[in-house]
Amino acid sequence: MTQPKTAVIRSDLDIVIARTMARDAAKALGFGAIDQARIATAVSELARNIFLYAGTGNVSVKEIERSGRKGIEIVCEDQGPGIANVDLVMQDGYSTSRGMGMGLPGAKRLMDEFNIRSQEGVGTTITCRKWRG
């Protein structure tokens, strides 16, 4: 059904493109309005982090299926500075940029599954999923 799609993040305009891509994919996969907003908002947070902290990276979305259940998987990857302490950045309010420190913990709350793999000097890959209710 829906093809996997990727958006390259290079500017703040690409953040809008990535979240629109994710919303369209979620809609095509049959997610309701609230889940579409959750998914688009999570992607907006993660794409902005790529832009702010890594400069460039990719956001891709694809359809997934597990024991007959359909969902969406979002992978955000960059070759930026990486994250030294993943537990720390997942805390509400932790920010190195005078942000609200809400992006990562908030995106996690909006999705069903959320995983960060990061290595300092190598980059960060965040994989998150949402299952259709």
Binding site: L13, A33, I34, A37, G106
Partner: protein
């Protein structure tokens, strides 16, 4: 990005801005600056920001809205948000942003009457 500048209308003592396009970060910041400047220039008593067309409000836009409300408040101007879609409101709370100090109304019409009440009250206080 001048092409994305959001028009701000003045009706009596009230400013009205309706956001009709997906806001990228630079245009959102431009909007905040334009709005605060216009509040300053016009001494508006109230500002209504209509968000009916916004389908995503992330932490960036959310904070910007909170900043607008706080800064306008310092200038003695009330801010009412209108037309926040239910899905957007739910997502904002789940994200962790509740905008506690921001007044909201269902739509522009209700927002206008809310604003009229608010600005009349503050007019009475001053008298």
């Amino acid at each position: 990005m001048d092409s994305l500048r959001i028009p701000i209308l003045k009706i009596g003592d009230i400013l009205i801005a309706s956001i009709q396009v997906a806001l990228h970060d630079a245009s959102a910041v431009q909007f905040k600056d334009d709005l605060l400047q216009k509040i300053h220039d016009t001494r508006a008593k109230g500002v209504i920001v209509d968000l009916t067309a916004l389908d995503v409000v992330d932490s960036f836009i959310g904070r910007l809205i909170a900043d607008i409300a706080a800064m306008a408040g310092l200038m003695g101007t009330r801010v009412v948000l209108t037309g926040l879609q239910p899905a957007v409101a739910i997502t904002l709370v789940e994200l962790g942003l509740e905008l506690p100090r921001v007044l909201t109304a269902l739509n522009l019409e209700k927002g206008l009457s809310m604003m009229q009440r608010l600005t009349e009250e503050s007019g009475d206080d001053a008298a």
